[in-house]
Amino acid sequence: MPSQETFQRLTHSIDTVMKGQAVAIRKLLAAFASGGHVLLEDYPGTGKTTLAKALARSIGAAFKRIQFTPDLLPSDILGVSVFDQRDRAFHFHEGAIFTDILLADEINRASPRTQSALLEAMAEGQVSIEGRTLRLGELFFTIATQNPVEFRGTYPLPEAQMDRFAMQFALGYVAPEEEVAMLSAQAQRHPLDDVTPCVSTDDVLQLRRSVKEVRVSDELKRYAVDLVRETRTVPGVQLGASPRASLALVKAAQALALLDGGAFVVPEHVQELAVPVLAHRLVIDPQARFSGVTARGIVEEVVKKVPVPS
């Protein structure tokens, strides 16, 4: 199936469930197709789980959900070797991470040790446990969520780990009309139950290969790098975006270009993705934070400062 069609089917399928979230779906699919992971920071009840489930069901992929609590252990995520008394041998029971689409809910409530277990696995694509190395699935895609309201008892993700997520964005509350439509739609049954797989995992893998083939001119690569470099020199930033960020930006721009039906990347794609890809990677100086500087504000400023090729 041509990639364009894959995209359209996925978009349409998810849209039946998540109405009024076209922008978020677009970003999600861009991250998904580029092989990166997504962090959703949003208020409770805005549909994060629904989104992940909708995506999983549209593909027909395996889906697991982990609810992060403070007493969650790394073994709960990665797996544990259980001793079977009958054969007197250890059997490895895989953890929740061995799946295609993983939803890590409220990731900031678990202890740092547990968080890093997940994030290392995400980054490397494999799990090392008790001397053995097990590869994760090829399609492995994580959607992590966290509440923006900092309650007592949360461990905010350390900066180095934030870098592992290709994008961070929020769903937000929908427009009133859409909310009303949602109420009507969910009167009888949840639309999620009606979602059937419309693309196969092979189509998705094909999609990812196509994304890698989208052409990027040197000028736009330079533009992406300029944006990232500028974030390092803005006053108030303790730590700017790393080269990993440039990579993620270009890859996501390729995915977005493919989503729009083009064969090459244009500057609009790069600009559209600047905030979702870069903002969460910046570490703001505490003094500047208390003067009202936000990471999002800085990235928007950078986009307005660096001249765009045209």
Binding site: R215, E219, F264, V265, V266, P267, E268, Q271, V303, K305
Partner: protein
């Protein structure tokens, strides 16, 4: 400097032109505007600014002290006048500080430079700055206001003022309105200002006329610059002061005239003399405006030089007897009367002139009835004495001698004492006391002569007595004020001074003080300065002052030159590496972008094309955005597709752009 180019220089030159200090003004203007041309700047620290500010303050204080105290007692340079001169000098005194700002890297002056308390605060907290002040515009305003103190009364001042104001306002005008509105508003304001100031001046003149006597009675002691009356006691009071009023240079090889007359009077009504029937008529100057003939006929070559201060440029000129012509008197209006008084209506504060004395002077008119009358109050006593001396029987020339002898033998001189002027002072003097000062002697002489049938007049003026070795000329002090009698004998007026000669020493003893040499010296310095100031040229003081300033300026410049000089940060012409030629740089799309930019619809540098087109749509710009989007798509393919654009698509791009550009209007299509 934040002023538009050359505005500050123009303001300084304007000041120089108005106050007459054109050469210093040119220097200051060159220094200030030169800051634009030189590429370097000096890194002045706060201490440097403090020092320069202190220097300006010292100069200011020095000038103030000099103008106020040294010249304070002078008749012309009293309090307010000194302020005016000081104010005119202010731009020059403040120039060093402004020059420092012009050449400093900071470009502004910290407020702590001006105030001691702020300096202390700055010393405690070195980091905090107490606000910066840009001196450029205030200095321009100071120049204009200083120029106003120079009192240039021609319309040229107002015209220049309007020009400078327009220049300053033009650079700061609001871009919202067209220049036409700006010009109209300015024109209205200029005309209104002109009408306003004419009205204001007229109002003040009216007020002055009405309140003249009241105000002048309160303010000025000398209520009568034109000496239309003099009361007995007036000169007496004048004699109490020691200051030098006149300076007299006799002709080469000749002695000084003994008496300089200011005015004469013909009617005595106790206790004052009046000049009746003596209206002033203007004297016409000769060609050149500096020579005034008082009597017809050729004037002799020898002359007496006199320098006198005129209060506010108006007053009577002290002249020797039989003055025929006055040379070198650069005043605007001169008039004279029948009684021999010559007054200046509009002149300078200090006048220096040469008087040519000749035998045929007819300045004083022949006697009239006034000159023979004696008032009833005194007539009895005077007639009695005249009879005693048997004046009637003597020939006219002998009568003078008799009268002189009478006074010489029977009277002695006493200095002016505060006697109540009332009753019959002259009778007292003649009959009982037989002692008094010159006014009594002169008055009595005139009345006696009249009683003897000789027409006589009363004259007031000065007696030239004292030679000053310091100045090498005669100086006339206030205590040399004198009065005497004029007698008409054999067709000419003759001086008759009956006051005992010891009056000079008697007055000197009363008034001289130990500080006389010092105050004389100061007075001389001020005289030199005043002479230079009133346009005597560069000889004398002017040259000396300049030589005094030059080493100071050199020292300052040398100290500043030794500082680090910091090259002014040049704005980099091109940032980073030169723009590499990127693919698609020759796309015709840029023509459309340029065309729209000219129409004010241009793309911002950080805005990608489709965002720009959306913005145009939202703003309802008169542009066909659909075709524009299609063209943009082709353009993007050309620019950002690494595989490049096909030939036919390239052709299509070109064609579409041409079609778009050719559509009527700005691409309405």
């Amino acid at each position: 400097m934040s002023t538009p180019p050359l505005l500050l220089g123009a303001a300084v030159l304007f000041w120089g032109w108005a106050t007459g200090l054109l050469l210093p003004a040119i220097a200051v203007a060159a220094i200030l505007e030169g800051a634009r041309a030189v590429p370097w700047r000096v890194d002045f620290s706060r201490r440097d600014f403090n020092r320069v500010s202190d220097l300006c303050a010292i100069l200011f204080a020095g000038s103030a002290i000099y103008l106020f105290t040294a010249v304070g007692g002078m008749r012309v340079v009293d309090g307010p006048r000194a302020i005016t001169v000081l104010f005119q000098w202010l731009p020059l005194l403040a120039a060093p500080l402004v020059a420092c700002q012009a050449y400093s890297t900071a470009g502004t002056v910290d407020l702590s430079v001006f105030f001691w308390t702020l300096r202390k605060k700055a010393a405690d907290e070195p980091g905090a700055s107490s606000g910066a002040l840009d001196l450029a515009y205030p200095y321009a305003a100071l120049c204009i206001l200083s120029a106003s103190a120079a009192n240039v009364r021609t319309p040229a001042y107002y015209a220049s003022l309007c020009l400078l104001a327009a220049w300053a306002l033009w650079s700061r005008r609001s871009r919202r309105f067209s220049s036409l509105w700006w010009g109209t508003s300015l024109a209205v304001a200029v005309v209104a200002g002109y009408a306003g100031h004419l009205a204001l001046h007229r109002v003040q003149q009216k007020l002055e006329e009405v309140a003249f006597e009241y105000i002048s009675g309160l303010v000025r002691r000398d209520t009568d610059p034109f000496r239309s009356t003099t009361a007995i006691g007036h000169l007496g009071r004048l004699k109490l002061s020691d200051r030098i009023l006149l300076r007299v240079e006799p002709a080469a090889g000749q002695g000084a005239p003994i008496l300089l007359r200011e005015a004469s009077y013909n009617v005595y009504k106790s206790p004052a003399w009046f000049a009746l029937g003596a209206g002033f008529t203007p004297v016409q100057p000769e060609a050149g405006g500096e020579t005034w003939k008082l009597a017809p006929g050729p004037a002799p070559e020898t002359s007496v030089g006199v320098s006198a201060y005129l209060n506010r440029g108006r007053g009577v000129l002290p002249l020797p007897a039989r003055a025929m012509e006055i040379d070198g008197l650069a005043v605007v209006r001169l008039s004279s009367n029948r009684l021999g008084a010559v007054k200046v209506d509009e002149g300078l504060g200090l006048v220096t002139y040469r008087v040519r004395v000749g035998p045929g002077a007819l300045l004083d008119a022949p006697p009239t009835d006034f000159d023979v009358g004696v008032a009833a109050a005194e007539s009895v006593a005077v007639a009695q004495i005249a009879d005693e001396l048997e004046l009637a029987s003597k020939p006219p020339a002998a009568r003078l001698e008799a009268v002189a002898a009478f006074f010489r033998t029977n009277f002695h001189y006493s200095t002016y004492a505060d006697q109540p002027v009332g009753g019959a002072p002259l009778e007292d003097f003649l009959v009982r006391k037989r002692s008094g000062h010159c006014e009594y002697f002169a008055t009595a002489t005139v009345l006696l002569l009249r009683a003897a049938g000789v027409p006589a007049r009363y004259a007031t003026g000065y007696s030239v007595q004292e030679w000053s070795p310091l100045e090498r000329r005669y100086v006339v002090r206030a205590r040399h004020a004198h009065s005497w009698a004029l007698a008409w004998v054999e067709g000419a007026w003759r001086d008759l001074d009956t006051t005992p000669p010891e009056w000079v020493d008697a007055e000197a003893a009363g008034v001289a003080s130990a500080f006389e040499p010092v105050s004389d010296f100061l007075s001389w310095v001020v005289f030199l300065f005043s002479r230079w100031r009133y346009g005597e040229g560069w000889d004398g003081v002017g040259r000396y002052l300049v030589w005094l300033l030059v080493p100071l300026v050199l020292v300052l410049a040398w100290r500043l030159y030794g500082r680090r000089r910091i090259g002014r940060a040049r704005t980099e012409a091109a940032r980073g590496e030169p723009a590499a030629l990127h693919p698609g740089a020759d796309s015709e799309f840029y023509l459309i972008a340029d065309r729209l930019a000219v129409a004010g619809l241009g793309r911002r540098s950080t805005e990608p094309v489709s965002t720009w087109i959306s913005r145009l749509e939202e703003g309802h710009a008169p542009v066909a955005t659909d075709t524009l989007r299609q063209i943009a798509r082709l353009h993007y393919r050309y620019r950002f597709d690494p595989d490049g654009i096909g030939a036919d698509e390239r052709q299509a791009l070109r064609a579409r752009v041409e079609a778009w550009l050719a559509a009527p209007g700005t691409g309405r299509g």
